[in-house]
Subunit: 374 residues, 4 copies
Amino acid sequence: MTRLRFGLIGTGFIGRMHAIALHAVGAVFDDIEAPLCSWLADADADLARKAAAALRFEHATGDWRELVARPDVDVVDICTPNYLHYDMALAVLAAGKHVYCEKPLALTPEQADELATAAARAGVCHAIGFNFVRNPILRHARAMIEAGELGQVHGFAGRNLEDYMGDAAVPHSWRCERRLAGSGALADLGSHLINLAHFLIGDIARVQASLKTVHATRLPRGGSQSLPVENEDIALVLVEFASGATGSFNISRVATGYKSGLGFTITGTRGTLEFDQERMNELRFYTADDRSGRRGFRTILTGPEHPDYARFCPAPGHGLGINDLKILEIHELIRAIESRQPIWPDFAEGARVQKLMAAIEHSHATRAWVETPR
Amino acid sequence: MTRLRFGLIGTGFIGRMHAIALHAVGAVFDDIEAPLCSWLADADADLARKAAAALRFEHATGDWRELVARPDVDVVDICTPNYLHYDMALAVLAAGKHVYCEKPLALTPEQADELATAAARAGVCHAIGFNFVRNPILRHARAMIEAGELGQVHGFAGRNLEDYMGDAAVPHSWRCERRLAGSGALADLGSHLINLAHFLIGDIARVQASLKTVHATRLPRGGSQSLPVENEDIALVLVEFASGATGSFNISRVATGYKSGLGFTITGTRGTLEFDQERMNELRFYTADDRSGRRGFRTILTGPEHPDYARFCPAPGHGLGINDLKILEIHELIRAIESRQPIWPDFAEGARVQKLMAAIEHSHATRAWVETPR
Amino acid sequence: MTRLRFGLIGTGFIGRMHAIALHAVGAVFDDIEAPLCSWLADADADLARKAAAALRFEHATGDWRELVARPDVDVVDICTPNYLHYDMALAVLAAGKHVYCEKPLALTPEQADELATAAARAGVCHAIGFNFVRNPILRHARAMIEAGELGQVHGFAGRNLEDYMGDAAVPHSWRCERRLAGSGALADLGSHLINLAHFLIGDIARVQASLKTVHATRLPRGGSQSLPVENEDIALVLVEFASGATGSFNISRVATGYKSGLGFTITGTRGTLEFDQERMNELRFYTADDRSGRRGFRTILTGPEHPDYARFCPAPGHGLGINDLKILEIHELIRAIESRQPIWPDFAEGARVQKLMAAIEHSHATRAWVETPR
Amino acid sequence: MTRLRFGLIGTGFIGRMHAIALHAVGAVFDDIEAPLCSWLADADADLARKAAAALRFEHATGDWRELVARPDVDVVDICTPNYLHYDMALAVLAAGKHVYCEKPLALTPEQADELATAAARAGVCHAIGFNFVRNPILRHARAMIEAGELGQVHGFAGRNLEDYMGDAAVPHSWRCERRLAGSGALADLGSHLINLAHFLIGDIARVQASLKTVHATRLPRGGSQSLPVENEDIALVLVEFASGATGSFNISRVATGYKSGLGFTITGTRGTLEFDQERMNELRFYTADDRSGRRGFRTILTGPEHPDYARFCPAPGHGLGINDLKILEIHELIRAIESRQPIWPDFAEGARVQKLMAAIEHSHATRAWVETPR
């Protein structure tokens, strides 16, 4: 095997996390070749040069199309704002390269579908950055559900709450514009929650939603003229799963006090699981099978009994961090490419999530239940 | 002032709690006359006699109508299964006596409305046993909201989760029958949550719901023939408040692991409040006004700064219990009667809650948003 | 059986809690006769009259000796400041009456021993108000330990932390004077912790302590001349139990932020138990016997499986309060008197605690390990 | 600046963590040159070769002395069992190279002193791997203490609890032998706690300790003959700081249920801080300066306001992991070398910790308070 050469587009928040993980993954895992941080692209050549120096990439360019075209790039990693995903991913697929795109896959279900179709045709590896499902404790949770430890699962109460736009004084940005961001809290936070629900419970049959924009306008940074916020701050959703389970999604980017409030309560006839990303190394588990007088929610700390934890640390309860989830994601990606196996979540899942987001918006607009397209 | 003579009908779970509180309230509060535990009625004379001995009532009867008619009964306290509330409360009102009825007020909104109208006409005190809102920490929460400490309130995520019918082996009972219980989780647990939402946020404008019965049939105790469960185990509701706030209710009697899971997250533009009845002496509060680097949810322990706590104990954080909420409720009741002031929650609130429950059921049946009657 | 007539001396914080419990206990328990609140004594006749009205006692007196002498008083309940316990308890025993005394039993081990000896001779019931051990969840904890669910117990880390004297501005009071209070945090908070350690682990063989007074002087209320604080704010103790287990006590009345921080971690070779009085309805339990990947501390909520909880409420997790512990204590007392059985904790235990407190002070003074007198 | 070439000795638990961090640190921080993973040494050449492949080091050797002697090694990183630290660190210092040694520095205070002296003379950078103090939230805690936010600090209750030797069936290993490990829980877990106490509170004046070995013998892996455990499982310590604050250490490797239970409660006259390594992204803070009725422990989540967090992720509350602490430690090390500034904790601190560990053992042996040598 030769080392895969990565090209990274975008060096903001999420781009830096990718870069860190690319450097570390080879030391964490020895069943893959360590990737090479080859090319980095940013909005202009100067920015790209600086970022490449900071993030230890070999080459820099101000033109992402050059990066895609480079023969010494095997995998293109897209970490740009939402509205750029579609064009970039299409270009990577057209170039016949492996593509690794941050969420959400696109701005519309049509775009997402087109990407998924193109990806399937291209015969390359196509991954989407739903990193939260890489958490060892959540993979353990899924295994527990599949093993029947909750009995029949009947409820999923999910939430993804942050407060980065809670303050009215947060300036207007691309996140507030429909043509740049698509939807609001839904695209940024809801997409993760939907993917997590798919991962743990399965297909969603129909939704009913209530969306809300708390701050209707915002001032641009340094400006004095308010601009409209074109997408929702809050999305509340009733959910009916194909399995018959029912649930709710509570999604907000104005949930004052929450910083990374992705979480859920999954109830079944014999047990319940709870998770909160702000305590990402803990899984709360209640089982009715415990002895009388000794039943209660127990807090399971992530440890070497849970998938891949031991690669980071053999001692239990010592704690993984958010960047470790990216390491796990990139490990899966490289393993998939090296073994020519499919990866999940892929672009098809990206499109499935996008369609559900559209169904939620449609439900709100029509005030009716909307069936999910199959 | 003379001491009020109480007649108690029903001596199950909730009846016992009322009896304990009636005996204690006079020592906790000195601004009222201590009530007298005069008459107790139960299903038959023998049961009533035993219960009267156990609960320290002076007299017993197997006929609740006799109790209502007794000249030495001033207040009738109704702690019977749901289907009996309507007849009993009507009879008490007809007798011109004060009435104190457990929730839900009735089985249907029509019954509840009739009771509320009769109560208003009777010129007596009419109280309904929504005891959770008596919690000093929740009265404090309401005061904080009213003082603007959360900024503009935009979200209410409420839940009332228990698991007393989570196990398929729990026998069929009156709770499963529509003509005896009315709705299921909604009447038993949802009614409290709705009242709490009214208390903290205000009028609900419309709802959209998804109900579900997890265990469609149950065996009666000792029987071998399954009987149908006629009402819902789970009610999930989207809520739009008259104020413009939006939210959700998650109500379940099959939520494995939850024992008294009444709780909420209330988000506003400047702060957030969280509560969980299983930790009923704690209020979690986040304020964006704290200094940078020092912000976080703080856990406020109930103490003498919160209404009426000091009557129980002058030292903070020593903890009230569920029965103390009944003492607080009965104190309010006696004070209202003695001062001829209205009490809240009263039968009008009981009817308002009942109508919302009906709207939730109607929404589920029609799969549409249902406006709340004003 | 006839109803026991109680005489209560002292109507501060703790006296009110006793009064409330005396009124309620008969409705909670039906295996005893409900007590009568007969006589109440306070510092002067006027105060006593007012308190008797407020706390619903039949008679009042400004002279506690009169109360002790009254033929219509069967049990004397002593809720006065520490320095009065000795004289009063001796007088009650001399009168051949049952005695129920708040902690600490006395100011010195000599006094306490004399009281224990007198009590044993008097042939009456003698109880001391260590109410925390009445908690159903702690009685359950003890049963779990005895059943070997922790394996061999090797550690007890206990604490009793409050902050009522944390602020330098808290005025000087009787609590700061050695001849009125005896020791400081040790007498007020440590006594409970020692009793709890006895209850759960057993005899303490030796101690090593470090005491500290954080605020060396305090202003009396309304005064301008600082007075010395004659006893400790903090007591830290190493403990070696007769069983071979070792542990530590952390006792403080200046532990900023703690309101009722009585708690412990008990570790054994197979399991661990944790408790925190501020969450008095929860017991945390870890057992190494859980399956791999599913181990973790579980939070057991008090419920009907735990001793006596169901007398208050049949539904689990609904929560007892601090005053319910006094109801449980008084129930034990009345049952002991009615059945002529001994009660625990009694005056012998009160003296044992007092001797340990003295050993702790002696250890601090001599900077040496001090063996506990047997 | 040129890139520093690291030589790593030892590839167990902690060695792997160092390797991961060495690869990642350059992408996290751009104010240093990224280090080179040059040489790796392990017990034999074959093991070393495999480890070098897995951990992405350029060269391997079975002879650590060769690694130390290599001209293409600038910094030697010692991650071997305790008994090897002394010889190796001395050799590195003799070779005039920078040295980075895992804790504890040595087996005895004499060895540690010798190393500290040699390090001071060598004029190189000498660091010891007390990584926990690198946590942004703990550096923030220290800044809060220094800024007086707790008022006068009077108490430090610290603990470091794990259960990796809790089970009697855990086999005998080098950790149980005095000549290989030195002390037991004290060296492995206590050393971190002592360093943390130094970091947050300062010098310790004297100690009083009680040590205990719960499992006196253990079977070697695969053996049938029990071997003695020569050092303590549990160390309980009373501590008096030079500042006048008092406290306690609770240290155990048999604390069933604890996986990474390094934690503390620091109390002051105006506020309190609490920390638990199992929730390493949280700091609990109580301040008496909050408004009445709103006081409570608040949970501060690590975020970009805390030192260096933003290098990993700009969004607050997203969570660092244990390996990120090593990245922070190595960043400090490289920055110190590049800037020729001292680092803390250094070998002098390593020796200071070792002397306190010896004082604790001496106190236990003599049953007396032991003054810390200055």
